[in-house]
């Protein structure tokens, strides 16, 4: 039985008339990389804020490591929420010393984390002199200081260049391999897809989906096809029931196909109808497509 690192029960929060969270419940297991997806205003940051005692919920409760929340437990959690927060007139190392003291971490670890985020040469520079990317990296360094068992990252790649984004992705993978748990809120769907084991989709404060990532992605394939006679191809495709949708993109048809129908079978069926493919590529269904579908489904239902 997997150990539950975090359990949330019926969490609700309103800001005035705006209901940011409506009775949200979920559990996060140890060692998972848990992604939280949702459009702006869906309640991601509010949820994370409540978990870190920055925001007080209207009702509901949550348990960290099976215990009622306490500041001592937060020392086992590293977090980066929304934006880096440091004392501008102090150097990077002094800012990290404050965090080290709060958590009871030895100062030796500071050099380690600065090295990991490539800020060692900026150690003695004032925070006010940092660029956005450097500030973000320092915030990540602060979050991983002391090897916390759980990392909560809210848009960690914000403001980073592609190398920085790749570095963060590698860092996340490395940390998750060591058995630590990561909760990642992100807009970068393909990052979440590459890195997460589980995903929660939030919209307007409600849970739209929660479960393993491959379950979310499973059930269909994306296949690209093209043929010399496009009209004929299109007509034939329409007749195949397993083809869920057909979209035209740059002279190629992108199909959402039920995974009962293998590409080989599709090829055979089309050939039997006299359609010979010039292009056949199988792509895995992307989280982005799934995500947009899920949210638009809901819009259709409610409108």
């Amino acid at each position: 039985m997997q150990e539950e690192i975090l359990e949330i029960r019926n969490l609700s929060k309103s800001y005035g008339r705006l209901k940011a969270l409506k009775s949200l419940s979920l559990t996060v297991e140890k060692g998972s990389v848990f992604g939280i997806l949702g459009p702006n205003g869906s309640g991601k940051t509010t949820t994370l804020g409540i978990l870190l005692d920055i925001i007080k919920p209207d009702s509901g409760e949550h348990l960290w490591f099976g215990q009622k929340p306490d500041s001592a437990l937060r020392k086992r959690i590293g977090a980066l929420l929304e934006q880096p927060l440091f004392y501008p007139y102090m150097t990077a190392v002094d800012n990290l010393k404050i965090i080290a003291d709060i958590r009871g971490v030895h100062y030796d670890k500071i050099d380690e984390v600065l090295e990991m985020v490539h800020l060692s040469d900026r150690k003695f520079y004032k925070y006010s002199s940092f660029s956005l990317g450097m500030k973000q990296r320092l915030a990540i360094a602060a979050a991983i200081l002391g090897n916390p068992e759980v990392l909560i990252l809210d848009e960690p790649t914000n403001g980073l260049d592609p190398k920085g984004i790749a570095d963060i992705r590698n860092l996340i993978l490395e940390v998750s391999q060591r058995g630590f748990t990561i909760i990642l809120a992100s807009h970068l769907l393909d990052e979440v897809e590459k890195v997460c084991t589980h995903v929660l989709v939030l919209e307007k404060g409600e849970k739209r989906y929660s479960g393993p990532v491959n379950e979310a992605l499973g059930g269909s394939l994306i296949v690209e096809v093209a043929a010399r006679d496009q009209e004929q191809l299109q007509r034939t495709l329409r007749q195949i029931p397993e083809v869920k949708s057909v979209t035209r993109q740059n002279g190629i048809f992108v199909l959402d196909v039920h995974d009962d129908l293998s590409p080989e079978l599709l090829n055979k069926m089309l050939a039997e109808q006299g359609v010979y493919l010039t292009h056949l590529v199988v792509r895995n269904k992307s989280l982005e497509k799934y995500f947009l579908e899920l949210l638009s489904d809901n819009h259709e239902k409610t409108h």
Binding site: G49, D53, K56, R74, L85, Y87, I98, D101, G104
Partner: protein, 267 residues
């Protein structure tokens, strides 16, 4: 507690504003201590030029009166210390570092406690400045120094500590409640100089006596001097226990107010 002191002090140690304001305060206060006697005497000689009665000169610095005199003078500058306290507490809100501290593993109670400790040490430091200045001035201006002379009326020194401590806790409360630097400074100053005096004026004397600023400033009354006695005015030369208990009670009240406010609030 040591850990909280370490964490909090690091925040001020590297801040230039803190050191500049602190140094300015000390220089200003010590300057005033040293210069007031000759200033007053100068004023008095000018005033007394046309008078038939010989007006005695001020002697501020002899034991045991030096304690009262210096404590009274120092009291005028508490507003600068309040400025310091408000600046640094509202900074934690404007930089949002209070969020970072809480997220990293400090509880809200610990955060509040570390600020109370900050206020305590400021009050302690300025009391020390008062003590040393008055001691040195007293030793150099008294002919026959006896221990009874030195120690009598020394209670004004801890009274000053209480005055500053309570006053700064009130400033701390304004800072936590209002969270924005300009607003907190403005409203605190407004309350101190304008609002409470007006309210006190409108209330019956028995009630006004117990208002916070009144009690804090009432700890140390205007010192007597031979000149005042000449006019038949006699100020208190003691510290009243009502004021002491009142200030202690208000101190508890200010801290409690912040505690309850902080407890259930989004940061």
């Amino acid at each position: 507690m040591k850990r909280l002191i370490k964490i909090d002090f690091r925040k001020y140690a590297h801040n230039r504003t803190f050191w500049v304001l602190s140094a300015l305060y000390v220089v200003l206060v010590v300057f005033v201590f040293m210069v007031t006697e000759s200033f007053l005497n100068h004023v008095m000689t000018n005033v007394g030029k046309g008078s038939p009665i010989a007006i005695p000169g001020f002697s501020l610095y002899s034991f045991p009166y030096v304690w009262h005199n210096m404590a009274f003078l120092a009291g005028f500058f508490k507003i600068f210390l309040a400025l310091l306290v408000i600046i640094f507490i509202t900074n934690e809100y404007s930089y949002k570092t209070i969020r970072q501290n809480i997220m990293s593993g400090m509880s809200r109670v610990e955060f509040l406690f570390s600020k109370v400790i900050f206020v305590f040490f400021i009050a302690l430091a300025v009391t020390l400045v008062l003590f040393l200045s008055a001691l040195l001035l007293g030793l150099s201006h008294t002919e026959n120094v006896t221990s009874s002379l030195v120690f009598s009326k020394m209670f004004f020194v801890p009274a000053y500590f209480l005055e500053v401590f309570s006053f700064l806790l009130m400033a701390m409360m304004f800072a936590f409640l209002l969270q924005k630097q300009g607003l907190a400074i403005g409203i605190f100053a407004l309350y101190y100089y304008v609002a409470e005096p007006i309210i006190a004026f409108r209330l019956p004397a028995g009630v006004a006596r117990f208002m916070p600023i009144k009690m804090i400033t009432h700890l140390i009354d205007v010192p007597n001097s031979s000149l005042m006695k000449l006019f038949g005015v006699n100020f208190r030369e003691t510290v009243s226990w009502i004021d002491v208990w009142g200030c202690l009670a208000y101190s508890v009240l200010f801290v409690a107010a912040v505690y309850f406010f902080l407890k259930n609030r989004d940061l």
